[in-house]
Assembly symmetry: C2
Homo-oligomer: 236 residues x 2
DNA sequence: ACTCATTTGTTCGTATGTATG
DNA sequence: GCATACATACGAACAAATGAG
């Protein structure tokens, strides 16, 4: 079903996550992997490229590949993951409330904010994420109804991405993301347990399908003391 | 000296940045590029992969590649760029002050914070970034003296990365990065024009050489109203 | 509905270059 | 100098998505 290099990538990643190869240890050479998986070196390299890119291993010309210490990259938000995926992989227990679920029309000022096309209809959804009985994240979602049709409040309580990808068969492509710090609004005070915090950490997502059309704008407003964003970057 | 696919990548990227191919427009096909550059398809694809990864273009199976609207990414701190590189590409005019430049020893509590090896010696440097006569960023750097030897206060006023890469010939590999929001400290109040802002946005960098050894810890403390972090992510 | 050319996606095999020990 | 391992490059083939006829 999937391509071979993805399968190999997932198998090796699993071995690293299960500590069958530990941090600091050397991976088998590319040629060894060729024999293990019966694949060409190009295919093996494509699989290993993914691990390098995600920060699981690093390569050294002439020496080999080594597993990196993954001490805290337990992805609060590393890639383009849904909230449910991120929460599950971080092992924390969240619950979701949906205090608002309605259809609206994108006007000029909303277009300015969301970059969604003017005059289209969209679902506007608020979702509150609770951790340890405290409301720490407010997600404000806009989905074009034209693309994400038939959404219900039930799905919003679970994973909307699951619905989009599995039920509708749509392929999510990429997102531009902006992180900023903003003063708390009346809405934040109403929907979050902001305590005395005067600001929130805001993550804005402009999400596109694989064909390049933007179908979503989401703004995640985090109570600053619970906000952590982790990232892995390579030079050049 | 560079590899062919890097050259090709840079040429095409230049064409996009100079708007010779505009947002929404289609790129020449891979086979066309093969003829243009006299390279194999594999090499062309490696060059194009980089553009895809950085969010300049998106690919559509069976159709072609299209240039993305780059309104957000243009002043991106998304990659592992030095402050000087980022400032130059964003076109803003910053100046740098160096109020502290000293050698210290990594003790246990500093190891906890920086992850640098205990008992090694390090440069500890404060650097203030001024924009429009306002001190908006405080960089706190630790560099292992063993690796980054011979650093002077003059270099610290320019680009330390330039010194590390060009003068010392060291190869920077990758960094783990954490973004958080923290209450202002007395140090922030002293070195930054924090105004009435009660918090700062903090970016922590754990930077490693290509051989995997960590040689730097840097904490960038931003006044929250001037802090923007942009990112580009793909769904896998 | 079907065929066909175009274009991207995956895989293979092979060769050569370069860094490490 | 030599063996090992990663880096780059070429060419070929077939698969899969798209759009035109």
């Amino acid at each position: 079903m999937n391509s071979r290099y993805i399968e190999i990538y997932e198998e090796i990643k699993k071995e690293i996550l299960e500590q069958k190869i530990r941090a600091g240890e050397k991976l088998p050479s590319e040629n060894t992997y060729c024999k293990i998986y019966g694949a060409s070196r190009g295919t093996i390299r494509k699989a290993l490229d993914l691990l390098v890119e995600e920060g699981f291993v690093h390569r050294q010309h002439g020496k080999g590949m080594y597993v990196l210490d993954h001490h805290l990259i337990s992805f609060s938000f590393g890639g383009l993951a849904s909230f449910k995926e991120a929460a599950e992989s971080s092992g924390q227990f969240f619950t979701t409330l949906v205090p608002l679920f309605e259809k609206i029309r994108i006007d000029d000022s909303l277009h300015e904010k969301t970059k969604l096309p003017v005059d289209k209809e969209a679902y506007k959804i608020y979702r509150i994420r609770k951790l340890d009985q405290e409301r720490v994240i407010l997600d404000i979602n806009y989905f074009l109804t034209e693309i994400v049709s038939g959404l219900t409040i039930n799905q919003a309580e679970g994973s909307i991405y699951e619905y989009i990808e599995e039920k509708l068969g749509l392929k999510i492509g990429f997102a531009q993301r902006v992180i900023q710090v903003e003063p708390v609004t009346a809405k934040d005070r109403h929907f979050l347990d902001v305590k005395s915090h005067p600001v929130v950490a805001v993550v804005k997502n402009f999400v596109h399908l694989q064909d390049g059309t933007q179908f979503e704008y989401t703004e995640s407003r985090h109570r600053p003391d619970r906000f952590v964003f982790t990232d892995f970057v390579r030079r050049r």
